[in-house]
Symmetry: C2
């Protein structure tokens, strides 16, 4: 039986720390404030927004909503973001994506100032995570992996970590953050040979999956006594949420494993608030 690396205690601990920092900032007259930019009413966006608002209220972070209809023009959206850039009372922005198809999403993302980019959507934030500078903020989910590892006291220095997935949202930034913490990284992806994929999985100390493919990583791709971090959130053949790992198989071999749901995903809003407070403190 592997130890379950649940996200909830990680989020709770982060929230406590953030709450204390918010109090300090409020005493200095700074009210850490997150702007949420949402276009349309995607149910997934609404659910995440609800979670973010709840987390904000637990920490004392203020939320300001910027809501637009599906038919909003690109110019309108960009000018709203440029106004937020200039607004000193809003310290960070979360913008839901994808945006409607008539909008050049990249142009809208780039209009956001990196120092207000709480979720790694700007070029500046990406450069920051690659170069290990404090420009912008990495994607919250990628940071959530690191917070979870740290919370459970998992040492990274000198460890061999296999990251499965090479997306800009998880795989690549997590690999960079792990390397910064002195882990040796291997990044596997869809073009990795099946043999190399399984070998990299089996031989690592820690495996992070961010493939977006339900139960793709089973016992054959994992070793004994590993630490397994599953970032995937997929729907299985029975319509149930599941990760990239076959949990039942993985759990038997692992020393520690994140559940899905209830693992990395439940830490992201706490990371988001941490980023808002960091941005507010920098001011």
């Amino acid at each position: 039986m592997a130890e379950l690396l649940k996200g909830k205690p990680v989020a709770a601990s982060l929230t406590e720390t953030t709450k204390a920092k918010v109090e300090e900032l409020r005493e200095k007259g700074v009210v850490p404030t997150l702007g949420i930019v949402r276009v349309g009413e995607n149910p997934g966006d609404l659910a995440y927004e609800k979670g973010a608002i709840k987390r904000a209220s637990q920490t004392g972070v203020e939320i300001r909503q910027y809501l637009f209809g599906e038919d909003v023009s690109q110019e309108e959206l960009i000018s709203a973001i440029e106004e937020i850039n200039r607004d000193d009372s809003v310290h960070g922005v979360l913008m839901f994506r994808p945006l409607p198809k008539h909008i050049d999403e990249k142009a809208v993302c780039e209009s956001l100032a990196p120092e207000k980019d709480m979720d790694g959507i700007t070029t500046g934030s990406m450069a920051g995570v690659f170069m290990d500078t404090d420009l912008g903020y990495p994607p919250c989910t990628a940071v959530a992996c690191m917070e979870l590892l740290d919370h459970y006291g998992i040492v990274l220095k000198g460890k061999n970590v296999t990251v499965m997935g090479r997306s800009l949202v998880i795989g690549k930034p997590v690999a960079m953050m792990l390397m910064r913490r002195h882990a040796t990284i291997t990044v596997c992806h869809s073009r990795t040979t099946p043999e190399a994929f399984a070998k990299a999985g089996r031989e690592a100390d820690i495996v992070v999956t961010a493939l977006g493919r339900a139960k793709m990583v089973g016992a054959d791709k994992l070793g004994e006594g590993q630490i397994l971090i599953d970032v995937g959130i997929n729907v299985d053949e029975n319509g149930k949420l599941c990760g990239d790992m076959d949990f039942d198989e993985a759990e038997k071999k692992a020393a520690m494993i994140t559940p899905v749901p209830g693992g990395v995903g439940s830490v992201t809003t706490a990371v988001l608030m941490k980023h808002v407070v960091a941005a507010a403190a920098k001011k």
Copy 2:
């Protein structure tokens, strides 16, 4: 006896292609021009500059030199670079580093427009290589590795490549470029355990070393029949140039190996000219 992956034929072939492109551009009235910014008279800089000027003359690229004394102020340097940014007749810039200690090198680098950054010294270029966009240009030496691999017909897709070194100049950008080309990458560095280091070296299809440590990688860290790319340029105990690999040992096991000197390093000025022409063509 391993096949020697010499840099000279790679540079010659690149130079031919670049020369043809320069001719096309010149017919359209565009003279691809490289600005060289040099502070002081470091012998290494002067030698590289001489090589760049020679390579430029082979391709038809024009060189414009911006020379400053060691006592140049930061403001003076930045204002010169800002003037180059505005000057449509200069398409790219090579600036020698390190700059004198009284100058904030990062600030000077950032003052260069990424689209004129021929050697990956700006945040924009770094973001481009991480995100796989065409913003800026990766460091010439990192690109030289890729050009060399391509020239010798080495397929990267599905290959397991171990990169030794995690610097922003070579290790990280090469890892990103290899991943873009669908290689599976492992990045080792100074904090990798000796066992993991040797294992990653032995088990890879291709090994790229960029450690800056003379002859650090010997037979114990390499496998049989590999392709070995040595980016290190060091001085050995007898004052002779050598790579990060122990060439005599490595050469016995490898299928293909780059010499040092005469390998990757001799491709960089040809890459520099390729970047200048790409920048001029984008105009």
